[in-house]
Symmetry: C2
Subunit: 204 residues, 2 copies
């Protein structure tokens, strides 16, 4: 878990060569200039917030095209509690940093450089960041990417992030309730429904 | 719950005026002729199974157009364990009967005949079939239908079925684990993930 916590909490690297004061934008000190430029590029009305379509544009220019489904999941996981449908500079910086780390993991475990991660590489990648997910659970999740051809499922970066974030998000929620670390968690009805439904709602 | 169980387990009504033997198709005795005709209309290759696109065509001709998202959820909830991506005559008959009951509920609770159900009508409809869902949970679920206008969310029949089925499905899963009927359920990690993930996977 220590490594995993580092991945999600690492400080972004220092900015380089950016004249304007980024702090007036609400970015944390030390935010990389590329992150600020990317945010400003899509936040055309200078509102300080970007919505799902704008986030998709920003991330797709840095990586490959992200599906709106993954984008909505990311907004759900990184959102500011006061504004569930848009994200501000602080959330954007955290999200950007996290994606950079996932990209590193993806490249490390995509051993044949195919640009795709299969079931076993996904298992190893998650294990490497502290999550021992049973193969049966991974299989259940990645079955959504089966195209009916019967061929082995392989995930591109977008789907890898989607799967990884779902597994991380649900596992973290489970751990919050597994206070004795005994591998079982007790939920009231309201807590169970309130935990699960947001993961469904993000799938518009 | 007694009423709810009736809704999901009522025998379909008797067939009328249909000459061919429906039993050779695998329909339960007593299946209404409209159900058989609808199935046959979309099962063009006479394989005895229909996929998501074909189910969408069959149901959209009986009701309004159903989204593929709702269709996939219905397949997930009614599927034959041997074939998770298609449904056969038996599952189709059960699904058709269930949708007919939901249509009746929808019309009963859509008091102003607007063709839409709001948050409070949804709460009353679910309560009427034995499910007391807290308003906060309903609000969380129907927030996915918000369009950003700030106006009150209203559900058409498609979305009503989707919401109702999600709430029914998750509540039933919770109840299976709440064996003492005390309002709290304990899940192992595997059971928790295996319960929740299929609801995500159906949202392709």
């Amino acid at each position: 878990m220590a490594y995993f916590n580092r991945i999600f909490k690492t400080q972004p690297s220092a900015p380089r060569g950016y004249g304007e004061s980024y702090e007036q934008w609400g970015f944390p000190p030390g935010t990389h200039v590329d992150v600020i430029r990317s945010f400003q590029m899509v936040d055309r009305d200078r509102s300080g917030f970007i919505d799902a379509a704008e986030l998709q544009q920003a991330l797709s220019s840095a990586y490959q095209r992200f599906s709106l489904r993954t984008i909505r999941l990311l907004i759900f996981l990184f959102k500011n509690p006061n504004d569930p449908l848009r994200i501000g500079p602080k959330e954007f910086a955290a999200l950007w940093s996290c994606l950079g780390q996932w990209r590193g993991i993806f490249e490390r475990y995509d051993k044949d450089r195919s640009g795709k991660i299969d079931l076993f590489e996904l298992r190893d990648a998650l294990y490497g960041i502290g999550y021992a997910i049973p193969a049966s659970i991974l299989q259940l999740l990645i079955s959504k990417y089966e195209n009916g051809s019967g061929r082995r499922v392989e995930l591109n970066f977008d789907s890898f992030v989607e799967c990884g974030m779902i597994l991380k998000g649900l596992t973290d929620k489970f751990k919050e309730k597994d206070q004795k670390h005994g591998g079982s968690a007790t939920f009231s009805y309201d807590a169970f429904m309130s935990t699960v439904i947001p993961f469904l709602v993000s799938y518009d």
